[in-house]
Structures are given as structure tokens and as C-alpha cells.
Point group: D3
Chain length 332, copies 6
């Protein structure tokens, strides 16, 4: 039977000028939807898992259309809730070479930011799940969102559902009165698989010293929070907006594992590549040993760079094929 | 020398699915900008006038792009102010025949709604103007917007600039604590040319009885507010979303004038047709006698139904040609 | 609780030149999916019902994409089966005024045509259903499809699920060895609500004489097959490819009911309007008395003429609003 | 064997804003090609005739692309000549209802306008032809074009090829030193079938008086130029840019024939409808008696109003079907 | 006088999602046509040759549109035959970097697969030709197609027309009862210029041992089939879906010739690049010595990687310019 | 206060096939506008300067639309003059890798080419300006254009406005009777900042010997024309149509300055990159010392390669960020 993942977080309408037009040149927007956690769910679904996403949309035709996007991309949307009237949004201007992509968010006051714990029944949602995934963006959005997220983590713990969290420090996102350090640690310590970065660990927990590398920091994190089983990091080297290199790193309490560096020379769309990595990791850890899981995550991440939109629509076969060194010849 | 009009109000990003797609079907949005008052300004500019629009946009690339749209359509944007970070928006799904067009607004908390009187220097802006135009939407948006609008009207009065206002009752728009009846009358009484409807007069002022027709109500309005010189109305008969009829009516304190009914059988885009009427009226009253001005306004309004977007980009020649009964033969 | 409908039939990829281009002019195709029965299911889903569609797609990325289309438009696709490798297709060139739309089918040998009875578990699928809908196209496709359809009807009868069938004579479709008259009557007599035409009744059953009107033929049909509860017809008057009139007629064994003629003056897409009528009838008969149900069906049908694609994405509110005489004014 | 028509004249690049956008709104142009005479040739080719078009294009990639358009639409382009470097062009802004379409020409100095008689070998081109068609636009373009056209007519006369000419007075086109009245009569008198209008006859020949109707003027024309066998006219009543009525009229020296008025209520593209009429007339006169030929021409013309672009891509079957009163039902 | 090439084979409708969208994301398809042999013919035509393509299309508007595509791209289509009703098709999803392009064929039962020898008059078609080209795909399609192809080769031999064949082993294509080894050798031995690969030679003829390189195998091939004059190979190194290197190799019975490796770093569309090589080779061998011919073929092939669609629309000048080392500076 | 630049020159309609389509494949054109000098003005405006462009457009809707494009991109268009009826145009086919972009001009007889000195009041236009910029294209267009340009330079000299000129030898452009060497030197010697190339200096002035490098030639130029303060060059190494390297060089009479080579690996649109360099240089010299100004110019130039269209719409922040070594990470 297929493994089942549950994800929770805001899904935004993504509006981008066609091709490489700048905002100042656009006369139309391409429309897709995305959000870190739903991106993970969809990616898992394309790999063959069952995926349920929990979110809140405005109670109007735009909220319905957002749900339809999630359904189209294989998510179970039975637990989407509706209310209020503003859709979270982000505008994406795609860069190239020396010109960076630019993102403008409009998510303040969105239907999701007004979510309250009593709107979601985690017991029911998580009862058959194998995995729950959250990210550090959600607790930054609002007190209600943070509480919902913590409830989910705790329910998952209780039901024996594995928890992963993708947490990085975007301090400037925290605007509702609480700080990152007040909220995040309580979540992270109940999370089995923590995806983060050296800077993330330092800033969120005030752990380690500037000289500590990722392996050192991962050890400190686990020794402080023994509930954490694995600490994982995706390293990205940015040659230009069109050319990146990525590498996965993992500390599982015993071994420090690294993948080969993958070279991505003609990027189509880099948004959501971190989410593709997280999804690959979830799929990988559910089906393989740690090294292979990390390779799988890196390959999935690399492939997302070639897919337009936020979500990684590549198949299991695509990922396996890249892991086996396939060079990109046409499949007929 | 060309006559100069100044307009003031919110300009929204307008996002619409291509053609006749519903929101549930769209994978892109056509992008234009619109707002009742700027629509009037642009329409006047295409007719040959000089037009300045005053508004407030977010201080980011989207706000700049909105300004660029206004500049493209000939507006003077020297007095646009920037601040905060949300762009007002509306989503438009275009209907046909029995299926109505549907509009979803997202304008709460927009940069414009946060405008404050001290951000605008009306003395400078209006000093060479011939005309100032406002609509009843602006005072409904926020206390700041209402105050700015009233300042503009009073400054115009003081400088001898003719004032027109397009005021109708959309009671459900008033959400910031004041009611329509508290705010609107003070503005209307300082307005030379009032464009409104029978229901508008009844609801905004509690004037007249249900049996009173437009002419009766217009008389009552002027007798109560002698500063008002003309009361004007655009009647619309809706056969279907694709077929309307329009007619202009005007009471100038002495005569009651009506235009012939214009039959618009294949509507392309009806948004902004009221603004096209207002602009036609402004141009007309500045250049012709009342009857011809009203005919001009009706013709401009009719032509807007054939232009995609919010703004009426037809030329003076187009309007005059329709007034002379041109039937739509190709111009080579 | 929402009512649940199950539909069964082929879903084709629909490829059409943009706008009014002819096949000889196209350099791209717009891509949607459609099929009489799924169109009914989707239409019911937009009206608020739960809808499950059963079909068979090729086991490749195109078959998956077709399923994704159905999911996007709210269908439950848990019972879609996959196999073989050809997607049924139709090409649609949209006409206007005196130029008829033209359709070219490519459905021979499609994955659906190769369906076999053992591929579908009707007991499970229909166990909670309120309604099952089939059309006369399915039994014409292949022996396997016909047998599946008959199994579904009989299972529905046994489980007390109401059955509707939309059957018209397209004699030229029957190519696999059996004739319409050999196959159809056995299905129709187990069908509670039969949507058909005078010519349909005459040709499929050899009933009645050329002088008999619809009411006469409906009576004969019911007297021959007492399992039939209602016989329904949608009359269409075609002024041009851009302008139709429609009217619903129903004989329920006791009364002959007709709706007013609805005038559709600016057709956007007439494909699937019959399916919208059937869906409206299903929704109507499940929620209203016969007269109101027929009015509802006609209104739903009329609205579909304004929606691009095969499927009727209008809402319950849209249909009710038209029944109340709404004339097409913008909804804000 | 299929009948063979030869046409001669300029083909222009046609650039139009998408949909109903005005020039002031466009950020792209739809690209097709058109010219009165080539439109006739293409239309004849779609009806099943063999058609050769003679023209001159710039000797660059744009000239080649223009030829490719003609080839795509079935023309024999073996006699296209190349030279110089400017492509004739016209910009078309499509109108609707009260807003007229607008055309801006840029054809001065085009490769075609620089054509010289020695560039074309009419003996060879016309040797197997059944029909030669020219229009009054060609002699207005340049002395070289006029001379080429006259050479073609005279060669056709000598070889027994029937000649038709579509001549109307566009006085303002004549800029190269000669006047319409100096050039046109010599061409018309050698033309078997003259398509023109009452005003055309009066202005080009100074024939008749203001009270003379078309029949009177046609008689005068034939009596003056006995080489003319038929004089034909297409009457157009313009209700709006979206709604026209057309009617064909023909005087064959013996009988005055009129078609029924055809009502075209939802025009898609009216450019080239006169050429579709001329092509229909050519096909008709080659295959039917006069009355049926005129009906055929009118039906072909009516259908063109529904086809985007300059050229009439409808089939023989489409035209015959309209002549038989088909109302626009889908062809499956 | 221009050299004349004749090609024979299936032409398929090619449907691809825009840009880099996957099938799961598309809401439209870009439409072109392609097939190995027609691609060669068109490529030759753009280089300045006369090219006739022989194929069979369904007898409907889609078959006509396919012919129109070939005409647009300069092919003589006088010998296209029509019949039956299914168009061969392929769907192409374009990959990038590590994500391979994916192709789904739907060609079983196509009009071309039902071709029979008596439908084609090779004597007439080949009588003035200089060259005939076939590929190994055609005999794999059906017995009728194989027989037609063999007839063409033998007729060409008899008439002294040079024959080239592009034959590679796609064993999985052979489904109609015969095997590659039963059919191919009889064709290859009558072919003057054989384009193939080491694996192709080994698998089609069971020649050579695994250690034999291309040169060895080419020698064996010619020694077995002395009718073969040249054996040619295009080597492709695939760095990623976006970056290839190509090199041509040729054994002419006396000398082994290789081109420099060409580096193609930003691939736009790699479909049809082998056909561009074959066409370059044909043009080259007709106009130059072997080494230059092979350089020409490689340059033509490299350029095709930058042209969207199946066909190589670059000019002779483009190819010569690359051969001379032009680095890609704008041509003004 | 913002610095003010004035530019003068032709602005052409630019028509390009979408994506990488060749002219032979296009069925639409993307529409923007461009011209060396206006490109410089717009680029300066995006960097925060005030920019006025002086040009002449046809007096019709196309000329108006061109002005609207300039306004949209922030130019002051108060001094645009209108007359005659032909819009200058260029067609751009975008290349990749080994396939060069191709440009076809149609500018002969354009409204701009008919400009006369008396149409422009340079005293008024330049009175508050800080900088005037011209290019060597303008004097090549027509005697009138050359005279206007010389008038502007001399007026600027008199008013103390700094003058820059971007002059290269495109000998084949000079068609109106005068030669480059007759006209250019008189302009260059009154120009403070000369952007040119070694070949440019040699050909325009007959200075130097083939062995002289840029530094030598720059010295000779300044020693001959002491009014010149700086001689600047942009070196471009073309690896392919998709990959360039650029470097700036400057001789200021005292020091020879070079920037690092910038590597641009995935070019989106290279048209206008020289103009972006010139604009960057103007901005740089107005705000920084020479070395930093040259670095700024190179960075601006590099960024333009990633922006579709002729004009460089990047912001000051983008340029500064690249100068600081930013690698292309998303800006959120």
C-alpha cells in the first residue's frame, strides 16, 4: 500500500510575467499556486504516495480555484477549510544569469493567516498517516497558524506519525508579536527529521559558534533535542541565476553522509527546489537507507530546477533514472 | 490650449481569465489596471485633454508598474505617491448572455486606503486645472481617503475649478466606521455636476419618495444644494450580459434633457462604461452645450462597451463619428 | 448530505484551434477533455453534488493528465482504470453564424473501447450512490463498453439507485457488429429517466408513426417499458451557429410539462449543452418537483452555451439566478 | 479536371492587435497576409480550383515567408518574383458594434509597387488558365503595376481566358501621376465580368446620372463596352461593425438577377469578404448558371465574415450547405 | 538547375506543451508536423533544392492541414495520397538538463500505415529525381509501407537515382509480423549512402563482433553489399538534455573521414537533428567532396538544435557561415 | 535632484517571432519599440534619472502607440514631433548557439528620416539638461537628421551640457549622398565622451595604423580633437549567440582603465546591450569616478543581456548588486 503523507501550510496564488519579462514589461501573468508544504505534498504524490494537504482558503471562487489546483496535482483536499476573503499571493519575476529573480509577497491578512486551532481536526486527519511535514514559515505567519502547527506535531507524535520540519531563519517574517526563538524550538524538538542550515541552527537556537560546521551543529542539535533523529541540509552553490550546484548532507546521530555535487546548468525555475528536496527525502527515508534516501532527495531537487511552477511534477522513474546516471537522452 | 482635468482615487490591478474562461478554468490572467476616477482621466486624455491622476501605490515594483500603465495611457503621474506594500486588486470573470460577469475585490489594506491628507498638495495640483472629478467610491474606502477627497473638492471650489462627482450608493462598501449619509452630502453639495441615479439620491440623502422619478429627485437635490448646477444620470437596460441599451438624462435646473437610447448588441467589456460616460460628460460640458454634451457622453459610453479593459481608449473622432450616425464601416 | 451521482463513459482529449480559426489556420490547439457522461458528472459536482466518474484511460502520461483534468473539476477518480495506449480524441473547429462547427473524432481502438466488464466493480462503486447516468454513445463504442454499461444499469436497479440515460440515435456510430436496436432497448427499459427525442424513440425502438409528436411517443415508450418513469426532451431551434433557442419537455406518465423557450444570442461554446441539461435534470429531480426540475435543467443548459469547453462550470447560484430572471448584470 | 484561375496583385503583411485591442493597447500583432487578388485565388483554391498568384515580394526572409503563406493556402507560387526590400503592409484594428475597424496602410515603395512589365511572362502563366482576375487597386499602385495588369488582361483576351475585374473608386489611392479615369476604362472594356458599384461606374467612367440605379448603370456600361458580358454588384447594409446584410445583384445583358439578403449577425472578420464574393462568382460562373452563381457568390461572401484573416478558407461543401439553407448545426 | 530529392515516409502531427511544461501541466499544445523523411525533404528545400515528399494522410481536414504544413515549408505535395481517417501523432514533452524529453507515439492504424504499393506511382515520381531518401522507420510500420519503400528503392536503382537510407535499430517498433533482419538487408544493399551506427550494423545484419569499431563495421558492410558506396555515422555525446556534442564519421570504401566535434550548449529542440544531418549530407554529397559534405552535414545538424519544431529551416547561408567558423554575431 | 539626460534619434517598431521561431515559422510578432538613443534614455530613467527623448513619428495611431511605449518606460515625450505616415521598423529573428540572430530593417522614408532642423527647438529642450547623447546612426539616416543632430550637439556645447556619442562605422548605412567621413568628424570633435571601437576610429577618421591598439587610437583621437575628454570602448567576445563576454575600456587622457571580463552564459536578448553600456556610462560618469563609472557601465550592459526587448529595465539596485558580486540568488 502507498505511504501517506500529510502536509500543512499556506498555499499562495503565484503570479509571474511570461518568460523573462520584468514586472515593468508584463501585460499578463502566468497563474499557478504554491507553498512550501503543499509543494512537498504534491511532489510526494507524483512519486506515488498518497498526500493530504491541510490549509485555509478564502470562501470564494478564487479559494475554490486554488483547491482545484491542488486536486489537479493529486492532493487530497478533503480537509481544506474556507473562510474570510483574501488569498495569499506572491509575484515572481524570473531572472537569468546576473539578474536575480525577484519575489513580492502579499500575504498579510490572508485567509490562512486567520486560521484557528479549532478549525482543524488533527486526530482524524493524521489517523492513517505515515508522515507529517511542516516548515518554519507557518509559525511565522500568525499565532493561529503557529498553534495549529504545534497541535499537528504533537498529535503526530502521539499517533506515532513520523514528523519532518524544514526550518530556516527568515527572521524578518515574524511580525505578529512572537519571535522565532520563542516558538520554533518547541516544534523542532518534537520533529524526527529536521531539514535546516548551519545559520538556521545558530539563529533559531543560539547554538554553536561561528566556527562550527554543519556536522558540529547537527550534533549539538541532536544532543539538545534527543527526539530529533536526523538533521539534514541542502547546500546550494550559486554560479548565476541560471546555474546552480546542489549537494545533500545528513547527520543521523551516527554517520555523516554527503551526496555528490549535482550541476544544474540551464535552470528553468528554481522556486520549490528546496521543497522537492524535502519531498525526495521523505520518500527516500520511507523506502531506502539514509545514503540512498539522500541521493534520491538530491536528484529530485535537481530535477525540479527544470520544471516550471512551484511543484515538482517529475515521476519516480525520472528520479531513479537520474540516480542511475542517465544523461538526458529522449525517452521514446 | 487643451483643457486640464484632475482625478483622484484608487487604481487597482485588474486580473481576468482570458476570453470567457471562468476562474475555475484559468491558467493565466490578463493584466490591466483600472479605477473609476483614473478611467475618467484616461478617457479624457484620449479625447485630447490633459489629465493628471492622484493616487497612492505600494512602494515596490508593482506600484511602479501601475504608474507605468497610467503613463502609457497618457496620464500625468507626477503626483502619484508611494508607500506601504499592498496593491489594490480586483479579479474579473467575464460573462456572456445569461451568465453575469463576476468581480472579486481585494482592496482592504491597500496602499491607497492608507493615504493621509498631508500626502497630497491640492493647491499645487489643482492650480491650473479646469476640472476636478471624484467618485463615491473614494470616501467609502477609508477615513484618510475621504478626507483627501473632501480637501480636493474644497480646494477646487476655492480655486474656481469645476467639480464633478459620480456618486451611487454601494452601502456595503462602507466598513471603516462612518456611513454614507455622514460623509457624502458634504461632498456632493460642493460639486457642480453630480452624476447619480434615482436610488442613489434616495439612499444617500433620504430625499424624495418612491414615486419620484429622476427629474423630481434631481430638482429636490438642486433645491437643497444650490451649489449643484447639473444632475445627470445614465440609464442602462440590460437585455443580457452581451446586450445593453443606454440613455443619458440631465437636469440643469431649467431643462430636462434626454438622449436617444443607444443599442449595444455585442458587448466586449462593459467595465468602465460609466466612467466613459462621466469623461464624455466632462469633455462635452467643457466644449458644447448641455444637449450635445449629453449626446457626446452617451456616445463615448457606448463605444467603451467595445474596448477591452477598464479604460476608454477611443478617440474624439470615434465619438464624433458615432454622434453623426456612423454605422461601423471600416476606416481606411 | 450531498447527493451522489455516478457516471460511466469515455472521456476524450478535445483539441481545438484558438478562437474561430479553422483547422487549416491553426498553429496550436487548446486542450481540454470531455465526454457526455463525465460532462454530466462535472456539471453535477459544480452544482454541489458528489460525483464519481468511471472510465478507462491509456496507461501513460496522457491518461494521467486526463484524470487530472477530471480531478481538477471535482470528480472522484478513484475508479478510473488504466490500460493500453491510445487516448480517444476529438478535434473541434468552432463555427459562427452560417459556418457550422466541425468535429473530427479519433476514438477507434481507444483505451476505453477496449474496456471489459471484469475491470469494473459496480457493486462497490454504486453502493452509496443516489443516481447513475449513462448515454447511448457508450453501447455504440464496443461490445465491452456496452456490457459494462448494462452491468452498471442492472446493478443500479438492484441497489435502488435511480438511473437516467441520454439516448439518441447516431446509427453511424455502431461499427462493432451489433445494431442499436439489438442493444439499446434492454438498457432503456431499466432506466428511470430517459432523455431522448422523437426521432430517437422512432429509430431505436421502431415505435410510433411519423405523425406522432413527442408526447405521443413518450406515452408509447412508457406503456411498453413500465420501468421508465419519465421521458424528457430538449428541443433546440438553431437560428445560426451563434444563436439558438432551447426548451425542455417532460412526460412523467401523468403530465406533459414544457419550459419557456430560452433565447441564447451570443453562443460561446455549444458542445456539452445537452450534458448540462441532463445534469440539471438530475440535480433538479433530486431536489425539486418536475416542473421546477425541468426549468432548472433548461437554465443550466442555457448557461453552458456561455462557457468554453465541454463542461458546465457554472454554480448553483448562477442557475437559480437565471431561473429568477436575472438579466446578466455584473455580480460584485 | 479542375478549373484554373490566375490572379495578379500585391499581397501585404497584415498586422493586427489580438482580439478587440486597439493599437494603443497591443503588445503583439497577429500575422497573416492578404491582398484582394490573392484572397480571390486562395478562396478559389479552397473551393477546389487550381490557382496561381503572380506578385512581387522583397528578396529577403520576409518575402519568402509571404510566399510560404500563399503556398500553405494552396496557391501555386511558381511565378512570384523577388526584388527590392520593402514588404507592403497594413495594420488592422478590429472594431465592434459602433466602433469601426481601422486600417493603416504602409505600401508606398513596396517591392510590388516597383514591378515592371518585363518581370512577368504572361504568355506562359496564362497558357492553360480558364480565368484571370484583377482588381482596381493594382493600377492605382504604380505605373509599372498598371502596365503589368493591362498586359495580363490583353494576353488573357488573346488566349481566350475569361477576365474578371473588381473595380471600385478609391480615388485617393491614385498618387503616381495618372488618374483613375485615364487608366481604368481601358482595362474594364476588356473585362468579361465586371464587379463594381453604382458609384464606381459613375466615378470611373462619368456615366449615368445620380438618379440611375445599378441596373441602369450596368446597361450603360455594357452598351458602351460590348466586351463586358456581366456587371455584378455586392450590396452591403451595415447595421454595425458586428452586424451586416449582403445581397448580390447581376445584369447579364438580358436579365437582372438578385439574391436574397443574407443576414450576418456576429461578424468575426469582415476583411476580404468582397474578395470571397468575387471568388464565389468565378467558381459559380464556371460551374453554374447566372442565378445559382450569384447565390453561390453571396453564400461564400457571407461565410467569409466568420473566418479570421483576409482569406476565405471555407470549403465547397460549406458554401453548398449554406445555399441549401443549413442553419449552423455542428457537423460531426 | 536545382537538384531534386524525393522522400517517402509517415508525417505525424506533433503536439507539445508550451515551453518546458510537462504533460501534467499543459492546457494547450503547440502544433507542428514531422517525420524523419519529410524532415529531410524540407531541410533540403530550405537549402535550395527541389523536394517532393510522398506520404498518405487521412481524407479529412486534418490530413489537408498536414499537407498545408508541408507546402508551407516548400515541399511539392502533388503525390500525397489520402484515405482512411486517422492521423499519426506524437506528443513531445520537452526536457532540460537532467530531465529527458519524453515522446508518446500514437501511430497504430494511421492512414500511412494502411498505404499499399498500388497507391504510389514511383516511375512518375522519380523520373526527374537526383536522389531518393528513406529511413528504417518506414519498413517497421506495416507490410504495405515496407513494400512501398522497397519499390521506391528498386525504381530509383533502375532510374539511376542515388539512394540514401537512415537505418537504425529500433527493434521494438516492429509489430506487424516481420522482423528487422527479414526486411532491412534487402533495402540496405540497394542503398548508395547508408547512415547508421555501430549498434545498427551489428543488430540489423548480425555483422561484426562487439570489439569492432564503426570503421571496421562499415568496411564489413560494404564488403558484403558492394552496392553501398558510403557508410556514415553521426556520433552524439549527451552531457545533458540541454547540452550535446556531435561529430560526423564517414567511410567511403577508401578513406575514413571525421569532422571536428561540435559543441551545442543551449539546445532549443533536438528532435529532427538526425534528419538535418541526413539532409546536409545529401546536399553536401551533391555539391562537394566527401570531407566538405560531412562538415556540411554536421553544421546543418548543429544548427537544427536551435530551431523549434521537427524541421530544419536554416538557410544555405547559415550552414556555410557556421562552416567558416562564424561565432553567432547578429546579422543585420 | 535627479540628473537630466536628453537623447535624440529614431525609434523603430520592433517585430519579432515568439521565442526562437524563425521568420518562416511565425504566425505572430511580439511588439516592442527600440532605437539606440531612446534605449539609452530609458535605461537612464530606470536608473533614476530624468530622461527626455526627441524623435519624430508618423501622425497616426501607430505613431501615438510608439510614444505611449516611451511614456510607459518613463521617458518625457513632450518634444516628440509628428508628421508623414511611415513608422521605421525592424524585424528581429532571435538566434541561439551557432545560429545568429537576424535583423531586417525597413526604415527608408520613415517619419524620422524626414525630420528637418526647424522642427526641433534645442534651446528649450536642452536648457535644464545635464547630458545630451547621440549615436552615429542618426547622421547616417538623412541630411535632415544629421543636421538636427549637429544642431543639438552645438546647442549642448553652448549651454554647457555634456555630450556623449556612440559612434561606430556602419558604412553601408550611408545612402543619402554624404559619407561618414564628411559628416561624423564635425560631430565627434564636439563630443565630450566618445564611445567607439578601434575599427570605428580607423574608418571614420582615417587615423592610426592597423597595428595601433585601442589605447593608441584613443590617444590619437583626443590629440586631434581636444574637445574630447574620454574615449570608451566595449569589447565583446562572442562564444556563441547564447554566450558572450564583455569588458569596458576607457582612456581619459591620462589613464587607461579596464574592467574585469564579465561572462554572460545564457543570453535572453542581446539587442540594446551597447545602449545599456552607454546609459550605464552616463549614469556612472555623473555619479562616480572613471573606474567605478566603467564598472557600472559594464554591469548595466551585462544585465541587459537578460532582459527581453531593446530597453534595459533593470534598476539601480540591480546594477549595484552585480558590481558587489551578487551571484543571482532570488530577492525576496
Amino acid at each position: 500500500m502507498n505511504k501517506k503523507v500529510v502536509t500543512f501550510g499556506e498555499v499562495m496564488m503565484r503570479l509571474s510575467p511570461p518568460g523573462y519579462e520584468k514586472f515593468s514589461q508584463a501585460s499578463s501573468f502566468e497563474l499557478v499556486y504554491g507553498g512550501g508544504e503543499a509543494n512537498v505534498g504534491i511532489s510526494c504524490a507524483y512519486l506515488g504516495m498518497e498526500a493530504t494537504h491541510v490549509t485555509r482558503f478564502p470562501d470564494n471562487a478564487l479559494g475554490k480555484a486554488a483547491t482545484q489546483f491542488l486536486r489537479r496535482h493529486w492532493l487530497n483536499t478533503d480537509y481544506v477549510v474556507y473562510g474570510d476573503d483574501m488569498m495569499g499571493k506572491y509575484f515572481l519575476e524570473k531572472g537569468a544569469v546576473h539578474r536575480p529573480s525577484e519575489v513580492i509577497y502579499e500575504r498579510e491578512g490572508s485567509a490562512f493567516s486567520l486560521i484557528q486551532p479549532e478549525m482543524v481536526n488533527w486526530e482524524e486527519i493524521l489517523k492513517d498517516a505515515d508522515w507529517f511535514h511542516w516548515t518554519g514559515i507557518t509559525p511565522a505567519i500568525s499565532e493561529g497558524a503557529a498553534q495549529c502547527c504545534l497541535d499537528a506535531i504533537k498529535t503526530a507524535n502521539r499517533l506515532g506519525v513520523t514528523v519532518s520540519g524544514d526550518v530556516n531563519s527568515r527572521n524578518n517574517m515574524w511580525k505578529y508579536g512572537k519571535t522565532m526563538r520563542q516558538v520554533i524550538p518547541d516544534m523542532v524538538k518534537n520533529t524526527d527529521v529536521v531539514i535546516t542550515s548551519s545559520r538556521g541552527i545558530r539563529e533559531m537556537f543560539d547554538f554553536g559558534s561561528p566556527e562550527d560546521g554543519f556536522q558540529d551543529l547537527a550534533k549539538i542539535l541532536i544532543s539538545n533535542f534527543p527526539g530529533i533523529k536526523k538533521v539534514v541540509k541542502k547546500t546550494r552553490r550559486i554560479m548565476s541565476a541560471s546555474h546552480h550546484q546542489i549537494q545533500g548532507k545528513l547527520w543521523n546521530g551516527e554517520k555523516y553522509i554527503k551526496t555528490d555535487m549535482l550541476n544544474i546548468t540551464h535552470i528553468i525555475d528554481r522556486v520549490g527546489t528546496g521543497d522537492a528536496f524535502a519531498a525526495g527525502l521523505i520518500y527516500g527515508l520511507l523506502h531506502y537507507k539514509d545514503k540512498q534516501a539522500l541521493d534520491f532527495a538530491s536528484a529530485a531537487c535537481a530535477l525540479k530546477h527544470t520544471v516550471p511552477g512551484d511543484v515538482n511534477t517529475v515521476s519516480l522513474e525520472n528520479v531513479l533514472s537520474l540516480m542511475e546516471g542517465d544523461s538526458g537522452e529522449i525517452k521514446r
